[in-house]
Symmetry: none
Subunit: 121 residues, 4 copies
DNA sequence: GTGGTCTAGACCACA
DNA sequence: GTGGTCTAGACCACT
């Protein structure tokens, strides 16, 4: 994983983990890597790893059992809801910005259709 | 203007100025407010105001004439190009994020079509 | 028994056992469940079960006879004394906290009188 | 300030700050000590100080402006509501525990009335 | 072995 | 000066 210098590392890892959860690569109830494992996996300090889980826990993505580890929240509906929430947030922000630039919804859609597939690969 | 606590103020002001340029509320060659005026207009610290112009100058949006003030770059094509550049950057980022969430381009478009107009007002 | 994630499991079990003693559901001299039985009863790791008795023994609530098991201390007065001690500790801590919040003893009492019975059910 | 070994230092500081807010020793909008000042005041590491504010911010007690400092939430009603919430939480927990020990509400009240003033001073 | 806390010290971005 | 992030390394409590 390459880190963007402008965004805090822990944020980037959180984003990555969230995506994995939302895309069902990680499942409710599943054990997440331990702090130390996460630190190795993402090449961060164990402290930073701990911070990542703590933040995610505060947001309800996972919970932790002392001496056992950190686990993904066992809420079946959560994943789909989160996916929609995240998409809506993205969408709403994107549309607002585009409309601020003076693009109509029609123009936006045709821009998406024209957008080169290669660039997003 | 209400400032978001999470994003640096100077960035928010720069974004606002860029939008004004792109939307043709500010024109090439036009004189921009002085540092002090900008500070008052946007209710920011004069240091911050200075940084804003410095940053925009570095990006080629404006230039300074000693004793005269700061002016928008007199590049006729700039506005339209800038608009496209910004739109492309937005678009590319947005599509990447949505595809990371597992949405196909088709789904994205239909989501945009369904998106409630009210919410973006 | 539902465990609170924030409090160590062994503490929660100890608290529960103490309450049972104090409420005379368990009597002086009575044999307590074996480590293994306790582990099953409370759905904890046998290591944790062992720790629970070790801790309670250190506090004088019970004692172990090799090959026979663990028994509640045969002190007739213990139950009543324990009950008072626990109540006093609770009371003292509670009053201190409430007074720190700026409540007078009078206010505290009237709050208790008003407190909805339902909520404590 | 003397720290209890059993409770994390940052929790104890948070509790102390919350009490000060709730008792109106600290007011909405007021600037809190800087991270570094707090570290000195409470004799903790600057990192711990930062953590304290971050936690309190997550709970809505304060907000922070980069380069300026951390400020108490400017919500006039917040303080009184918080005071009531905290009192209710204390009360409810206390009553539950006491009733688990087999005390009636009447007994609890008379215990409070008898409780030696000196001990809570 | 797991997470939780804490210290020490560093560098950076922001106002 | 302010807060934000990160590393390094330590000790502890819990399972």
């Amino acid at each position: 994983m390459d880190y963007n210098v402008e965004i805090p590392i822990y944020m980037q890892v959180i984003r990555d983990l969230k995506k994995r959860i939302v895309r069902r690569q990680l499942h409710p109830g599943e054990k997440l890597p331990s702090n130390r494992e996460l630190a190795v996996l993402y090449k961060v300090n164990p402290n930073t790893a701990a911070r990542i889980y703590k933040e995610m826990e505060a947001e309800g993505y996972c919970y932790t059992k002392r001496g056992l580890g950190t686990f993904i929240t066992e809420d079946e509906k959560m994943q789909e809801e989160l996916r929609k929430e995240m998409a809506d947030a993205l969408l709403s922000g994107f549309l607002k910005e585009m409309q601020d630039l003076g693009f109509s919804r029609k123009e936006i859609i045709s821009k998406i259709e024209e957008f080169d597939e290669e660039e997003t690969a």
